[in-house]
Amino acid sequence: MTNKKLDDTCIETGVRNLDSLFGAGFPQGTVTLIAGPPGSGKTILTQQICFHNASAERPALYFNTLSEPTAKTLRYLKPFSFFDPKKLEAAVRFVDLGILLRTKGLDETSALIMNRVREIKPGIVVLDSFKAFDDLARSKEELRKFAYELAINLMAWETTTFLLGEYGEADIHTNPLFSIVDGLILVSQREQSGEQQRLLRVMKMRGTNHSRDEQSFLISSAGVEVFAPRVTILREDRGPPVDRCKTRISNLDDLLGDGIPRGSSLLIGGVAGTGKTVLLLEFLYRGALAGEKGILFSFEETEERLRASARGLGWQLDEQIDRGMIEIIFIPQPEIMVEAHLLMIKERIEATQARRVAVDSVSVFLYKIRDPQIVREKTFQLASIVQNAQAVGFFATDIPYGSRSISRFGVEETVVDGVILLSLTEEGMERQRYIEVYKLRNTAHLKGRHSIIVGTGGLTIFPRYNVEVDLHEVPEPLEPSQRLSSGITGLDALCEGGFLQRSVTLVSGSAGIGKSTLGLQFIAEGAKRGEPGLYVSLEEGSAQILKSAAGVGLPLSDAVAKGLCEVLYLSRGEFRTSHFLTLLADKIQAGKIRRLVLDGVSHIVTDGNFPEDLRQLLFALVTRFKALDVTTLLTFEAGSMYATGSVTDHGFSPVADNIVLLRYIRSSGEDRPSLTVVKTRGSKHDRGTYYFSITKGGLEVEDRVAELVILPEPGLNPPPRSGT
């Protein structure tokens, strides 16, 4: 009895992702032709649908014609996981029409088919292959009549019918069967993107808004698996980003503004050896330490090699993997199947609920694809997976050596939300690494290239804050009531009691005149007052500095031992100009430093750095230090023992709040050191020049110079006399 309307108008095919090609599922009660050359997968596809749907109440009736004998059909069914021997006969009935067709012709075959339908009342009917009827029909008219009546009879029984046949696209226009059927699915096999691929296309399916794209599929022990990423990986509209991700990688977050919006994918571009894999691994590792799950899809390095790399960097990556916070999936390059692995990536991200996703690398993942538009589409699908999961994706891409592009294929950057470039340059005898946030949507990021070091602990990034410091870090005005003693009574007296808190004092003078001693006194005074200090030398080692301090009676070693101050030697051989700011800022924050001496800023200037770079760096340094509530003293080596030009000639004076000039003055036939406070910002000062001496206890201001004689620079005309 069938006088009952079927509950649903669609059936589940049981074939992964196939239903989604039809929108709401495969329409029930239709007659569908599955056409394709031998070996293209028609039979397995149909058998899988039969076994998925058939039941004792609503069986499937599978007619074999003159193609494959039923015995063979059954034999080849066995290895598939969808095959259920219990369903054989009870739910899926195979009927061999071979003999009847050979002997009786179409009419009697048709009658037999309908008799079986009346008897069994199947939900699904299959004719495999319908091409046999083509071959037996005496004319096109006979074939059309046979097909028409059969289709109508099966329709009247509301069976979902599959006609299988070795037809090609050329038959569509000539074979009457194609106009009779409700649905037409073409399956084929050919090379695409460097792979032999099985392909499926729904050409027609009445009553549905079906996909018209060609979809690749695979036949495995599970049967047919359709990938259909254009249908299955659709970007969901999540609205504007509300949550942002902090990478927790050394200073990288300073470059990334408010953080990476959730759902974003970033391309990590660079030539080989620039540190892409380390960046990806560290992104996952730091995330795991902060409680965010991560997943890495590696197409280059095995999990074991990645674990070993992490151990080499001092990370406990093994522990995070064992805890289930990180998963590494290695897919060897020859086994890459782009569409299949896209779906796998989607499923693993969903299953692990990963919040950080790394792909190493998209350039290897997509290496077989020659069409840039397909590369673009696949990258977009990858980014869509990340967006839908509201994760953050880092996709490595290998940029060819010597290329000016920022990705392997030149199109990936157009579909991702951000691009981070890693680069290597030869500088002298060294290779220097850089990182640059080239693009990051919806985020005010720090532009420009920033130096990086890869070593124990991972990446260390040294941001060039000066690049945008004028936009973000305008120093607060100094407060005249808050002053710090310089440690030199006479100098404090010249500056209304000391340097203003958070001020920057530039001490200029020729070599050996006493700049360093002044700086040591400044730090020692702070130690005495409980104001932590940092003395940074760019010329001499820490031991030498402490010895020199002891030599002038400054107990700096004791202060260091008590943790009241620190002496740091930065060798120009080890640290680059661009590293200073970051390094010092980190030290200041870690040691809660209140007083800082940077001794020998002129030595930051290297052969390749022009004064403008140094000026910018100094400006960035002082702005940063002020923001960190530090009072700074910079010493600058003047080229002349007598003249004042160096500081102003280089345009450094605007950088400093105070300028103290140390120089020699000829007096009574000898050169005596003198000190002049040339400038103080925000307070009055004594403009006189004073002799000073260095005694036990340090620099001591003496008598005012009665008449200042400026001695000429070699090769210059004598300057005019000037009184004080």
Binding site: M1, N3, K5, L6, I152, N153, A156
Partner: protein, 159 residues
């Protein structure tokens, strides 16, 4: 969309008016007229081949449940009722009505399923017209008069 219950409601209403208290022969006559109306309306749209295929299925199920329905014969113009009339002896009118109701509901349901119920409203209308034309007797009308009317209609139909 109409479902089996809608079709049944229309068929039951029609039967109540067209066959109530009629002897078996009168019931068959009403069935012939009612089914004929449905066939003619559906035939205009669906054609012979489709309707025959549908009827083949409907009768297959009907015969499984009501063997007396095997006497109905499918032909190009619809159903032939001659053999059913010949075999009415001993058939209880109530059972006959049940079998007829089954065929009518089944026919409407299958047609509805296959055409997404596009034809269902017009088929229901056709059926109700038959019931009106056939003229269900008033409550006050004597049973003998009703029988007389049915016999007359049967003769007209055979002519």
């Amino acid at each position: 969309m109409a479902d089996e219950h809608d079709h049944r409601a229309h068929v039951v209403a029609w039967m109540a008016r067209a066959t109530e208290n009629l002897p078996a022969e009168g019931v068959v006559l009403a069935f012939e007229e009612g089914f004929g109306a449905l066939w003619r309306r559906a035939h205009q749209t669906l054609g012979n081949v489709t309707l025959t295929a549908i009827l083949d299925r409907v009768l297959h199920y009907a015969t499984e449940k009501y063997p007396m329905m095997s006497s109905l014969e499918v032909e190009a113009r619809g159903l032939r009722f001659d053999k059913l009339r010949e075999n009415l002896e001993g058939v209880a009118p109530a059972q006959l009505r049940e079998a007829i109701e089954f065929v009518m509901v089944e026919f409407l349901t299958v047609l509805g399923n296959l055409t997404a119920d596009i034809l269902s409203p017009s088929l229901h209308v056709e059926l109700s017209k038959v019931a009106r034309d056939h003229g269900a007797p008033d409550e006050a009308e004597a049973p003998d008069e009703r029988q007389e009317q049915v016999s007359k209609n049967g003769e007209d139909a055979r002519r």
